[in-house]
């Protein structure tokens, strides 16, 4: 019972309205709130609802990836950054008023231009007739996966030479991105490594004391570790009474 697929006319609008309002509402939340942690949380909600919009637009795989990589990964990273740096006075840093006025003017005008463009084109404005086949057509992640490995399944029709020898897909960018991620990973790890050691020489930091302590305290082994003396303990002062020869 594929909800979206069959009751098409109403549901799409309903969900679109919900997700759009959440996305834009919390987008404003990010903009307006002063507390950086609140901003991060609003960002999570707005990106989550954009993932919902992706689902609505039929890009199911991208929606899941957005949820998983973007919200689950990047924003967690961002929140870690917020937690590490958001100490007392950096949590609420409010911007000066004249910046606001300037920003709203520029932003508003940019928005007008974009909206005009969005509604300008005839082709984009006219509602298309959406039927079953189209909806179910997008229900498949496999073509996406294959496209990444170079075989463009959806354009099998026009069998140009590029499609023939399998170069139509996105194999090259795929490999480049994977290397790019590797490089970024190593670079970020290198840059953010704890630099405690570099200025550990000043005696204040505990690590230095630690190393000094370890150096001068090598435990030399107990010379007579082999304490295997079995006769009973007695006072060293009592005269050598005959019976204690063991």
């Amino acid at each position: 019972m594929d909800l979206i697929a069959v009751a098409w006319p109403y549901w799409h609008q309903f969900f679109f309205i919900i997700f759009a309002t959440i996305a834009i509402g919390f987008g404003f939340g990010v903009l307006l709130s002063k507390n950086v942690v609140r901003m991060a949380f609003y960002l999570v909600l707005s990106l989550g609802s954009t993932a919902g919009l992706f689902f609505l637009a039929g890009a199911e795989f991208v929606g899941a990836m957005q949820l998983m990589i973007y919200v689950g990964g990047t924003l967690v990273l961002l929140i870690f950054g917020v937690m590490l740096t958001a100490q007392k006075d950096f949590i609420n840093m409010d911007t000066h008023t004249q910046d606001w006025i300037l920003a709203t003017i520029v932003g508003g005008s940019l928005l007008m231009v974009l909206l005009f463009g969005a509604f300008g084109a005839e082709d984009w404005r006219t509602p298309q007739d959406i039927n079953d086949a189209h909806v179910s057509a997008t229900k498949e992640a496999t073509p996406l996966g294959l496209a990444l490995t170079g075989i463009r399944v959806d354009t099998l029709g026009e069998s140009t030479d590029a499609v023939a020898d399998g170069k139509s897909g996105y194999l090259m960018p795929f490999i480049i991105v994977s290397f790019h991620l590797l490089v970024v990973l190593i670079g970020a790890a290198y840059m953010a490594r704890t630099k405690k050691l570099s200025h550990a020489t000043d005696d204040k930091s505990s690590r230095a004391k630690l190393m000094l302590f370890k150096m001068e305290h090598e435990e030399e082994p107990l010379e007579e570790a082999k304490y295997v003396v079995t006769h009973k303990g007695k006072s060293a002062l009592n005269p050598l009474d005959p019976n204690d020869e063991d």
Binding site: M1, V6, R38, F61, M65, I79, A141, T142, S159
Partner: protein, 427 residues
């Protein structure tokens, strides 16, 4: 389900039917979560009792202390849940709900039996993983919002652990997806129908290894058992949900138990044959009775199978919890990086080469080969929803797979997806 409701009310194909169907599905899942949490808390006390050679609750509600959790629940509801004054009030209140929502949302794509799934998500595996990834936020928010630096300290530690264990979890999940060729959990479950040799865990040694790694990472991902750094009471830092009390605290636990069930249910679907028992009893009954009744009975048996396997998974987690001491935070991290990730990678490479070289897998040895589901994308073949789709007997085909209806010429006889167990594969 929606059509069923529609013909009851005779209102044809209107959206009311779908609304009710959705509500029923939501309520059913809520029951799985709520009653599940109720059952698990009681089970945890009983099992830990048994492990520690004592009885566990026996007085509340009859001989076996059935209603012990209910009593706890009422106590928790009656308890006044205070908000510490230094807390960030809004985030403090919303954190438990984020956690519960995340683990509850994972149930949407979880198929309890062949057709019994709340919403048919094609990329179900990734959807569940993505949603489970959101639980980290509830931990971080709770930690930050509680105002005290101890809970922040504990929350950061635990968030780091959960995020770092998502990597090997993701790698382990890719192996069954790769073998079955699809991310759709229902199809993965159906491909493991038939004898238990069909289960993916016995497919080849590498999937066996991946199943074990999956289960460890899942336990760590849900921060249970030896990895429960959060409420490490023996250490100084108390953990992120110390400031919570009353209902909010119980919500955290409901979230924990339901995500435990989701993770073990996912394990059973990916590796242990989902809603198919070791001996295909459901299939036989479905075939002998035939028709919608046969299908429904086999589905009920399927649901029973999955719930049982999920239960077994949760019991194993509880069993581990009460026998092992806790790991140190750096041991947990090194175990993730030095053991889980390499082993998951090994499992992945091994399974791929096993698949590529087409070595004998468990089900091919026993001679009850799993039905093949690889779609063949060959050049130049016009992909059309070929007419020979086997018309499901009056039941809406849950998923109009057009990829398995490809009429390709060469050798592999593509058997149609046994949409309903009733028809059963001809092999």
């Amino acid at each position: 389900m929606a059509d069923f409701i529609n013909n009851i009310f005779g209102i044809g194909d209107s959206w009311v039917g779908y609304l009710i169907a959705a509500l029923i599905a939501a309520v059913l899942i809520l029951h799985v979560v709520a009653v599940g949490a109720l059952l698990f808390i009681w089970m945890e006390r009983k099992i830990s009792g048994r492990i520690q050679d004592r009885l566990g609750p026996t007085r509340v509600g009859g001989k076996y202390g059935w209603l012990q959790t209910l009593a706890d629940g009422i106590k928790l509801i009656a308890k006044e849940d205070i908000t510490p004054d230094l807390a960030d009030r809004f985030l403090f209140k919303i954190a438990p709900y984020v956690g519960l929502a995340a683990s509850y949302a994972a149930f949407i794509a979880l198929p309890f039996a062949d057709g019994v799934v709340a919403q048919h998500v094609n990329t179900a595996v990734f959807f569940v993983l993505a949603v489970l990834g959101l639980e980290v936020f509830s931990v971080i928010l709770a930690g930050y919002a509680s105002g005290s630096k101890w809970s922040l300290f504990g929350a950061m530690r635990e968030a780091a652990q959960v995020v770092s264990y998502e990597v090997p979890l993701g790698m382990c999940v890719v192996v069954p997806v790769m073998i079955c060729g699809t991310m759709n959990l229902t199809t993965i479950g159906n491909m493991q129908a038939g004898l238990f040799t069909n289960w993916l865990v016995f497919n080849d040694p590498f999937t066996f290894l991946t199943a074990i790694i999956y289960f460890t990472c899942a336990t760590a991902g849900v921060n249970r058992a030896p990895f429960d750094l959060a409420e490490a009471e023996s250490e100084l830092v108390a953990g992120f949900h110390t400031e919570y009390s009353g209902l909010r605290w119980s919500l955290f636990f409901m979230a924990e138990y339901s995500s435990m069930f989701v993770v073990s249910a996912l394990a059973s679907i990916l590796f242990f044959g989902g809603s198919h028992g070791p001996i295909p009893v459901g299939q036989w009954i479905g075939e002998t009775i035939g028709g919608t009744w046969g299908l429904n009975i086999s589905r009920i048996i399927g649901v029973g199978n999955l719930l049982l396997k999920g239960l077994i998974g949760v019991t194993v987690m509880m069993w581990i919890r009460w026998t092992f001491p806790r790991l140190r935070i750096d041991q947990v991290m090194t175990m993730c990086l030095k053991y889980c990730v390499p082993l998951a990678a090994l499992g992945f490479i091994g399974a791929t080469t096993w698949q590529y070289l087409d070595l004998p897998t468990a089900n091919s040895l026993v001679g009850n080969p799993r039905y093949e589901k690889h779609e063949m994308w060959t050049e130049g073949v016009e992909v059309t929803p070929a007419a020979d789709a086997s018309p499901a007997s009056g039941i809406p085909d849950p998923e109009p797979h057009q990829e398995d209806k490809t009429a390709n010429a060469d050798s592999v006889t593509v058997k149609t997806l046994p949409v309903s167990v009733v028809k059963g594969g001809e092999r």
